[in-house]
């Protein structure tokens, strides 16, 4: 089945009894049992809920993994994945990782003895140099947030396998429609499902998908024990959102390309970060591992004043955190997605005070351009 068909028909309807073409929302915390020796498939909804399971199977199927897990947020998915490790273990992490992930690693998990080295993951030699005897995994975002840096996943996987490490990829910006890291040999794919997967800015959720069943079992244990699961109504909303993933992504991406081209020639814009631009340093690598550049781009303005004028002046894009929704969202990484990162760390990573990030929505791109143009002209 091709991707578009998979989105609509990828998971068998649960409700064979009634023929419902949409999954029922099982708002049940517990499931009555018929036998004392052989419990049914479901017993307690934290451990398994039919609505959640439909979603988990759908996402696992799209990512080509053995098992998928839905969590209460992207951070809950990431925190649950970090619980796979033990004190003393070490991770090599891409340096401009999402601020929330950085915070989790630099506070909570640091306290628990999980170590992390942040590296420029566009440079495979830098990744290799950071690997220590106690390193257990590479943790990557490609393209990264917010600077859209590209990591060569095939090279990273080769390195990880040579050293016996797991490769974990946050695939939030791409979705499985554009990039399937598990097919490239990565072990775990993570998502803030809040973003493009759900796509409507109306649900907070996260996913972890394991390529192999055994690793999936370990994640299942943690999901159930930690219990940061996604509720059935939210699961249903995400199932609904997934159906339009391909058509949304295509439209998002086409508009993003148009806007990136406009920004590039805009005199107030110093620099545009978008892997769809031939001048992007990761352009070729990205083309080799993904089917498109996605719909998130960042750009630097000439002055802070312009930055403020744009953020506060836009009418069509919501000036807000998050991304990946049908509505365009303009955000200011220094105070939003990467506010959890200390200023010095931010600066070192090139997240300047004149940097803005745009998640291109489904509005007409000409309207979005006109809206930004008006702000920049003052």
């Amino acid at each position: 089945m091709k991707f578009a068909t998979d989105l609509i028909h990828g998971v068998d309807p649960i409700d064979a009894e009634h023929g419902s073409v949409s999954h029922p929302i099982y708002l049940s915390s517990t499931f009555a049992q018929r036998s004392m020796d052989h419990f049914g498939r479901y017993d307690y909804a934290r451990s398994g809920n039919p609505t959640r399971e439909a979603l988990e199977e759908a996402v696992a199927g799209l990512e080509k993994g053995a098992a998928g897990f839905a969590f209460a947020s992207g951070m809950a998915a990431i925190a649950s994945t970090f619980l796979l490790f033990a004190p003393g273990d070490h991770l090599v992490v891409c340096e401009d990782v999402y601020g929330g992930t950085f915070r989790l690693l630099s506070t909570l998990f640091k306290g628990w003895g999980l170590q992390a080295t942040f590296v420029d993951a566009t440079d495979n030699a830098a990744i290799a140099a950071a690997i220590r005897p106690e390193t257990r995994a590479l943790y990557l975002e490609t393209p990264s947030n917010p600077l859209l840096k590209v990591t060569d996943l095939t090279a990273a996987v080769a390195l990880a396998r040579e050293k016996g490490l797991l490769t974990i990829v946050d695939n939030t910006f791409m979705t499985p429609y554009l990039q399937r890291p598990l097919e490239l040999g990565c072990d775990i794919v993570l998502h803030s499902g809040t973003k493009f997967l759900n796509g409507h800015s109306d649900v907070i959720c996260g996913f972890a998908v394991a390529r192999e069943a055994e690793l999936g079992q370990r994640l299942r244990f943690i999901q159930n024990a930690f219990g940061a699961v996604l509720g059935p109504q939210d699961c249903w909303l995400v199932l609904r959102g997934l159906k339009t993933l391909k058509v949304r992504m295509e439209e998002h991406q086409a508009s993003a390309g148009k806007i990136a081209a406009w920004l590039e020639q805009c005199k107030d814009v110093v620099r545009v970060y978008y892997p769809g631009l031939p001048g992007h340093p990761g352009y070729e690598t990205h083309r080799g591992q993904a089917d498109g550049p996605g719909a998130v781009l960042s750009f630097e303005l000439a002055t802070f004043e312009q930055t403020r004028r744009l953020c506060e002046g836009v009418r069509l894009s919501a000036f807000a955190v998050s991304l990946g929704g049908v509505e365009s969202i303009l955000s200011y990484p220094a105070k939003m997605s990467h506010a959890a990162m200390p200023p010095a760390e931010r600066e070192a990573r090139g997240i300047k005070e004149t940097l803005v990030r745009l998640s291109v929505g489904l509005e007409d791109p000409d309207d979005l351009i006109a809206d930004m143009e008006r702000c920049l002209q003052g």
């Binding site: 934290r46 947020s73 951070m75 809950a76 033990a86 940061a228």
Partner: protein, 382 residues
């Protein structure tokens, strides 16, 4: 204000634009900012959502805490609280605690360097004797699962205070209606909100109330950081459930006492654990500390064969895990809720192959008794 009033009014007056008397379900991931560096107080729903906040304020009000928190499950709440501790910290824990908590402590947090001692927390002296220099907290079930042992939260909280330990109480079986742990000196109360608070067996959630504002800040940091939050629709359902907490609990307790007495008189029942019975070791303590005994009963039947008969033959009472809902449920702790605890421990605690746990609902008590009575009788049902 009486707790019934507080409970019925959770979320009221939050919606000033329309005057709606229930809090809207804010099914939004993100919030538009009025300007650079400005916020409406909400920016991303993991960090804060108005519907979830109404629930969080509700539990804080019911408990008399400075702040409340809602999580994706009771276990997510407990995990998030464990994030308050550091490698090398030691916790004292109720020995016959919920199997999921035990699994979390032993299989997940032990490898991260926390250590746990399990003691009979109905005995303050035993708790005291387990305190070590590295002990940071007591994690106690106010009424234990499944053996209904009552803890003296007031004395335990005082002991914790003397020793610089946090007193965390899992008050799931009693709710703030029956026992107000923060008033008794505890620092944090924690709930599987899936149970009595939501009360309808339709939501999985966890709820926490924290007494001290500075401690609450730390709890918030991990709620936001690890992100195991409750979604807005489930938050709304939990609020809806909490509005009827007191009347449900009243009826459930009433039914439970009737059933406990009936079970006590049944020839095929060896022992009934229900703190509302005068012979229960925690009866007097609970009378003096709280407002009731809850609606959980554990009972031992004469022979293991009876267990299957009861589980299979009850019609009104469902054979299912969980508890606290309007419908009555019967559970077999040894293989269901406490399957993760080592067999020797179960044996020592008295969680044997003849023990059943009953969560009494709000059905008519005579129907519940008739259901149990027919299930005890041999032979196929009509």
């Amino acid at each position: 204000m009486d707790i019934a009033t507080t409970a019925a009014q959770i979320g009221l007056e939050r919606e000033t634009r329309t005057g709606a008397v229930t809090v809207p379900i804010y099914q939004t991931a993100t919030f538009r900012h009025p300007g650079l560096g400005l916020s409406t107080g909400y920016d991303y729903s993991r960090s804060g959502n108005p519907t979830r906040q109404a629930l969080e304020e509700g539990i804080a009000a019911l408990e008399g805490g400075s702040r409340g928190f809602a999580y994706a499950s009771g276990m997510a709440a407990i995990t998030s609280l464990m994030f308050l501790f550091e490698r090398g910290d030691h916790l004292i824990v109720t020995e016959d605690l919920y199997g999921g908590s035990y699994r979390l402590f032993e299989k997940l947090f032990r490898q991260f360097g926390l250590s746990f001692s399990y003691v009979d927390t109905s005995d303050v002296e035993k708790v005291k004797s387990e305190i070590r220099p590295d002990t940071r907290a007591l994690f106690v079930e106010s009424l234990t699962n499944p053996l209904l042992k009552a803890a003296d939260v007031e004395k335990l909280a005082a002991l914790c205070k003397e020793n610089g330990m946090l007193c965390i109480v899992d008050n799931t079986f009693l709710t703030p209606y029956l026992l107000r742990c923060l008033d008794l000196g505890a620092d944090i109360t924690i709930y599987s909100g899936s149970k009595y608070l939501a009360g309808h067996n339709d939501t999985v959630c966890g709820v926490v109330a924290v007494k001290d504002a500075a401690l609450a800040e730390k709890v918030y940091f991990h709620q936001n950081g690890a992100g195991a939050v409750l979604g807005p629709q489930d938050s709304w359902l939990t609020i809806r459930g909490m509005k009827t907490l007191t009347i449900r609990m009243d009826r459930q307790q009433e039914n439970a006492l009737v059933l406990a007495r009936w079970l006590e008189g049944h020839p095929q029942v060896v022992k009934v654990h229900y703190p509302g019975l005068p012979g229960h070791p925690g009866h007097e303590l609970m009378k003096s500390r709280g407002k009731g005994f809850g609606a959980m009963i554990a009972f031992e039947v004469t022979e293991p064969e009876l267990v299957e008969r009861l589980l299979m033959k009850t019609r009104v009472i469902s054979f299912a895990e969980s508890l606290g809902g309007v419908e009555s449920l019967i559970t077999y702790p040894k293989v269901q809720t406490h399957a993760d605890i080592e067999p020797e421990t179960l044996q020592r605690l008295g969680i044997n192959d003849r023990l059943l746990r009953l969560s009494v609902g709000i059905e008519d008590k005579d129907d519940l008794i008739a259901d149990l009575a027919q299930a005890f009788t041999k032979g196929e049902d009509a």
